[in-house]
């Protein structure tokens, strides 16, 4: 009987330990992969878009302050990508089409940023943008020519890019929304087009009323 009592005590202790361990390890049972944890963390932290120089498909160079007082809807890609990026950009196009046109260019700018500055020069980006019928103004495609600045940006927004042996990159994808002051305010699932379009439109409606 005494022996059993000890067994039950240790069993309960082990159970409690297990629950605490899983609770801490998954942020209260909400994030079972690093990606979900990452998105939660970003939305909590609201990191600033770092001061990096962008070079767009027209060869214009500017920093994020170019978009001051506008929301910026961002994706990260590289044009040689044959898997996720075309889908990501195609989905971005659909969000672009769904957002009411009076806001575009005035209150919101769409921006696709390449993390492969070597291959994605302005000419390549210009060709790529035509596939998606991006106008190069209200939806721009740009690279960050300086590798150090690029790394800084990817790190701030939690974009993980792993080069593989065939000149491709494995990377995580999402829609990023930066507010008028240059802070990241939302990270959205790039597969949920309607939801993303709705979220963005709502924010824009509220933003212009004020």
């Amino acid at each position: 009987m005494i022996k059993n009592k000890h067994n039950i005590i240790s069993l309960v202790l082990v159970l409690v330990f297990g629950i605490v361990l899983f609770f801490i390890g998954t942020d209260g049972f909400s994030a079972f992969t690093v990606e979900t944890a990452r998105v939660k963390q970003l939305i909590d932290d609201k990191p600033k878009f770092p001061d990096v120089t962008l070079e767009d498909s027209n060869g214009r160079k500017y920093s994020i302050s170019e978009f001051e007082d506008k929301y910026v809807f961002i994706t990260f890609l590289y044009t040689s990508c044959t898997t996720v990026c075309p889908e990501l950009e195609y989905n971005m196009k659909q969000v672009y089409d769904k957002v009411p046109s009076q806001y575009k260019g005035e209150d919101i700018v769409f921006l696709s940023i390449s993390f492969d500055p070597e291959r994605d020069d302005p000419a390549t980006l210009n060709k790529y943008k035509d596939f998606f019928k991006s106008d190069g103004e209200t939806w721009r495609m740009a690279r960050v020519p300086n590798q150090r600045e690029l790394d800084q940006l990817l790190k701030a927004f939690g974009v993980i890019v792993i080069p593989d042996e065939y000149g491709n990159f494995a990377h995580n994808s999402a829609f990023y929304l930066v507010d008028k002051k240059g802070s990241l305010v939302n990270v959205m699932d790039y597969k949920e087009i309607n939801e993303a379009a709705k979220t963005v439109s709502n924010i824009l409606e509220k933003g212009t009323e004020e």
Binding site: N4, H6, G18, F32, T33
Partner: protein
């Protein structure tokens, strides 16, 4: 030279940064070689702890159930895609891996396994089989990349490793069920 010492040597070998870095660079080696080897290191070292604190195990783990539960909890924890990713990027999680797998999972498995009834042993093996099938299915057919630090192809490889391990366990269970070793003695 006793087995606790060999277990300790194995543990030190696994902790050495070049070895650890190499094993963690491939997803399937990370989960199916490094992690089990850490458990084995603890399994071997368990004798040292049992000799040192014989009363402790007898008192708190006399029927083996708390110990095996601890083992299962630690194993399941390290099968979450997130923990494996974080072990690569977060120092404290990495340290926790090197402590929890040998000293919590390995030691308690050694102490508990013999104390379990054959029903208990079979239930543990069956649960792990089901879990491995599930994880194999998850890693192979998951539409998304579960781990940020590994390529999708590595994820699929890991899935097949889980499935083959599960098949191995099923073969063992079948063997156990159909074959009576005493018939061959």
């Amino acid at each position: 030279m006793n087995q606790s010492f060999y277990g300790f040597l194995l543990f030190i070998f696994l902790v050495v940064p070049p070895v650890a870095n190499f094993m963690e660079s491939v997803m399937v080696i990370h989960m199916h070689m490094q992690m089990p080897m850490l458990v084995i290191a603890g399994f071997l070292m368990a004798r040292f702890f049992k000799n040192r604190f014989p009363g402790f195990f007898e008192k708190w783990n006399s029927n083996g159930v708390p110990g095996i539960l601890l083992f299962v909890i630690i194993m399941v924890y390290w099968m979450l895609p997130r923990t494996m990713d974080e072990a690569l990027t977060t120092q404290s999680v990495e340290v926790y891996k090197f402590i929890s797998l040998p000293f919590l999972a390995g030691v308690s498995l050694r102490d508990s396994w013999k104390k379990l009834s054959s029903f208990g042993k079979n239930s543990i093996i069956i649960s792990f089989t089901i879990m491995f099938l599930g994880l194999g299915w998850l890693y192979i057919w998951s539409p998304v990349q579960l781990c940020n630090n590994y390529l999708v192809i590595q994820q699929v490889t890991l899935g097949w490793a889980f499935l083959t391990t599960a098949i191995g366990l099923v073969v063992y269970l079948g063997y156990n069920f159909f074959i009576d070793p005493s018939a061959y003695e």
